[in-house]
Amino acid sequence: MTDWLSIEGRSITRRDALKHLAAAGLATAVGGCGGTDEDGTITLRWWSTQGAPAQRAAYRTQIDLFEAAHPGVRVVFEAMSDEGYATQLAAAFASGEVPHLITHMPSFAVQGYYAHGLIEPFDDVIEAIGADEFYPGANDVYRAADGRYVGTSIGNTAADMLWIRRDLMERAEIEAIPETWDELRAACRAMQGGGIYGAPLPYGLNSANSLTFIGFIHRAGGSVFTPDLEIALDQQATYDALEFYRSMLELCPPGATGYSWGEMLTSFVSGATATGLYAGRVLANVAAQNPQIADSITCALYPRMSRDIPAWTYNDFPCVCIPSAASNKAEAKLFAASLFDPAGYIPQLHAAPGHVLPVLETVAENPAYRDNEIIDRYPQEIDLMASAAAQGYNLGFETTAHQPNTKAGEIIASNAIAEMVQRVVLNDENPQAAVGNTVTRLEEIMRS
C-alpha cells in the first residue's frame, strides 16, 4: 500500500493513520468529555444539508456500520437546509453547540469558517481515507491559504446542467441540443406552449439565483473576482449575462421570480418546462415521479454566450468537515473517514444516483457502483456530469488561477448578486446602476 502522507515531519501509512485515529478515539472515550453520556457512550451529531428520504436511509446504513465497528459511539443525523445552513451554523458556532461533523455544505463556506478558526484541519482524515484514491486534484478546492486541507468533498455535483426533453425537441423540429444562448432561447421559444414553459431559471431572492447567475457570468467569458480577488463584476460579461437572463424571463413560469432549487427541479421533473437547470437528482425524481418522460430526457453542459467561450460548471463540492469546537474529534474523524468506505459510500451515492458523484476514483471504477438502475440507464449523462463536475468551480474557486475566496459564503448568503439580477430583470433598473450598487456591497463584505 503506497498511501502515505508526511505529518509533522514523518511518514505514515493509511493503516497507521486509521490506527492513530482509533487509538485517539479510545483514549477520548475512556477519558470522557463533552458529548459523552454517563454510561460512557459518545454521541456524535452529524449535520447535513441533504436529507432526502433515500439519502437518510443510506446515512442510516453508514451509521449502523460505524456503530457496529465502534461500540460505545452513537451517531445522530440532523438535517439542515441549503438556504438555512449559514444561520444554523452561525448560531451553533456562537453558542459553542456545534455538531461533530458537517456534510454537503459548499466548499467556499468551509473555507470561510476555517479562515476564522472555526474548522478543524482535515489532512489526517484525507490520509485515513487514502489520498491517492481521490481523483487527481479533487481536494484542491479544500486547500487553505496555509496549505492545509480544511475538508474534503463527500461527492461531486454538476449543479447547473442543461436538462432537455428530446420528445419536445422533435416536436419543435429542433435537431441539436442548444450550445449557445441564442440557440437555447430559440429552442425554448419553439418548445414553449400548451402549458409547457421553456425554462425554469431562478430569479428569486435566494442563493440559487446567485449561484446560478455566477455561472452565466462565466459562460459570457467573465468572472466575479480577478484571480487575486479584486472585484471584477463591472464588466461586459456581467451585462451580457444580465441581458440574457432578462430575455429568458418570458420563457419561464410566472413564479420563476421566486424560484429556488426546489422549484427548478420540480418544474422540469413534472413536465412543466421543456428544459431544466439542475444536477443529477433529476434522473431519480423523473423515474419516481414522472416516468412517462424518462426515456426522453437527457442533459448537456449549459449553453454559453458563444462557442469560443469555455464551458463552466458549478460544483459546490459538497463537504465533509469537522468544527474545531467539536468534542470527541478523534471519533468524529474516524466517522468522517468511514463515510468513504465503499460498503457504505456506494449505497449513499446510489441514494441520489447521478446527483452526488463519487470523488474516489476507486469507487467510480467499482462495478458495485455501476450496478444501479439509474446509472445503468443513463450512462452517458452520468459520465458527462462526472467529467463536468470534476472540472467544476464555484465562487470560492472561480478558476484554478483564483485564490480561495473565504468571503464567498457571506457573499452568497447576502443575496447581493440575486438582488442585482432582480433589480435589472424584475424592476427594469439601469444595469450599470445595479452592478455599481452590487460592487459597493461586495466591497463592504470583502472589507468586513
Binding site: A86, T87, L89, A90, A91, F93, A94, Y113, H116, G117, L118, Y203, G204, L205, N206, P253, P254, G255, A256, T257, G258, S267, S270, A272, E410, A413, S414, N415, E419, Q422, R423, L426, N427, I445, S448
Partner: protein
C-alpha cells in the same frame, strides 16, 4: 457597652419586602434587563457572529444606520405591512365577532373553528398558502383561470405589489381571530337594554351599530390595535417564509433586516443596532398602550 437599638417594625417589614421582591427583580434583570443592555452594548461593536469576536466602533453603527437606504426602506415596508394587515384584521375580526354574537346554527362550532388560523403553526400556514399561491399548481390561479378572470397564472409572491398584498392578506387571515376573541367577549357584556331602547326610539341596525356597538367597543379596540400593532411590527416568520423579503427588498421589514445582518452577513453589532432602533419604536407603542390602560383603569 453600647448596643444599637432594635430596628423598628417598619424597617423590618421593609427588609422582608426587599427579600420577597428580590426573586422577581432578579428574574426581571436576567430575562429583560440583561438582553436589553447586551443589545445596546453589542450595537457599539463590530462583531463577527460565529465567533462573537469584534472591536469597538462607538456610534459608527448608528451613523451607518441613519445613512442606510436599507433601514429606511425596511422601516417603510414595516409600516405598510403593519398598517395594512392591522386594518384588515380589525375589519374581518369585528365583522366575524358581530356574526358570531348572533344566534346562528352551530354557534359554538363556528366560534371554535374561527380560532383555527390563530392556533395553526405559522410554518404550516405558510406552506399551505405558498401552495395555494403556486404559479403552476396553485388552486388560486386554477380557479381564476377556469373562471376566465385571468389569461395566465398570476405571480402572487414574486412581483410587486402582489407580494406585499399577499403577505398582508395572509397576515390578516392568520391573526384576525385574536380580534374576534376580544371583541366577542366585549360584545357579550353590552347590556341588551341599550339595543331595546334604541329600537323603541326607531334606530335601525346600522344606527344601533354606530351609536351603541362601536362606542362600547372603542376602549377594547384601542387596546387591541396597540397590542396587534406591537406584534405585527416585529413579525418575522410569516414574512420571511412567504417572500424572504423579496422581490428585491420590497417586503423586507426591520425584523428581516436584523436577521440578515446577524446571520447572513454575520454582523451581530449592526444587527443589534437595527434591533435597538426597532426597540425604540416599540417603546413608543408600549408607552401609548400603558397610558391607555391606565386611563381605562382610572375610568
Amino acid at each position: 457597652m453600647h448596643s444599637d437599638p432594635p430596628p423598628s417594625l417598619e424597617k423590618r417589614y421593609a427588609r422582608i419586602g426587599v427579600v420577597l421582591i428580590a426573586p422577581t427583580v432578579l428574574v426581571f434583570c436576567a430575562v429583560i434587563l440583561y438582553p436589553l443592555i447586551s443589545a445596546i452594548y453589542l450595537s457599539l461593536f463590530s462583531i463577527y457572529t460565529p465567533t462573537l469576536a469584534g472591536e469597538w466602533v462607538g456610534v459608527d453603527n448608528y451613523t451607518a444606520l441613519l445613512a442606510s437606504g436599507d433601514f429606511w426602506n425596511a422601516a417603510l415596508n414595516t409600516l405598510i405591512w403593519t398598517v395594512g394587515t392591522l386594518m384588515l384584521q380589525l375589519v374581518f375580526g369585528v365583522a366575524m365577532a358581530l356574526l358570531l354574537n348572533q344566534s346562528i346554527v352551530f354557534q359554538s362550532l363556528a366560534r371554535s373553528l374561527v380560532l383555527f388560523p390563530y392556533f395553526l403553526s405559522t410554518v404550516v400556514a405558510v406552506l399551505v398558502w405558498r401552495w395555494l399561491f403556486n404559479d403552476l399548481y396553485g388552486i388560486l390561479n386554477h380557479v381564476l383561470l377556469i373562471a376566465g378572470l385571468i389569461d395566465a397564472p398570476v405571480n402572487w409572491l414574486g412581483q410587486m405589489p402582489n407580494a406585499m398584498i399577499s403577505i398582508i392578506l395572509v397576515g390578516a387571515w392568520k391573526y384576525f381571530p385574536f380580534v374576534v376573541i376580544v371583541v366577542l367577549a366585549r360584545l357579550q357584556s353590552i347590556p341588551e337594554q341599550l339595543y331595546e331602547a334604541a329600537t323603541i326610539d326607531g334606530a335601525g341596525p346600522f344606527q344601533r351599530f354606530t351609536d351603541i356597538t362601536l362606542p362600547q367597543l372603542r376602549d377594547v379596540l384601542v387596546v387591541v390595535v396597540l397590542l396587534r400593532a406591537i406584534w405585527d411590527f416585529k413579525e418575522f416568520d410569516l414574512i420571511y417564509l412567504m417572500t424572504g423579503g423579496g422581490p428585491v427588498r420590497a417586503t423586507q421589514t426591520l425584523s428581516l433586516l436584523v436577521y440578515e445582518e446577524a446571520f447572513r452577513l454575520n454582523r451581530m453589532g449592526m444587527a443589534s443596532t437595527y434591533a435597538v432602533a426597532m426597540m425604540l419604536v416599540l417603546l413608543g407603542f408600549t408607552l401609548v398602550y400603558l397610558r391607555q390602560t391606565n386611563r381605562l383603569e382610572e375610568g
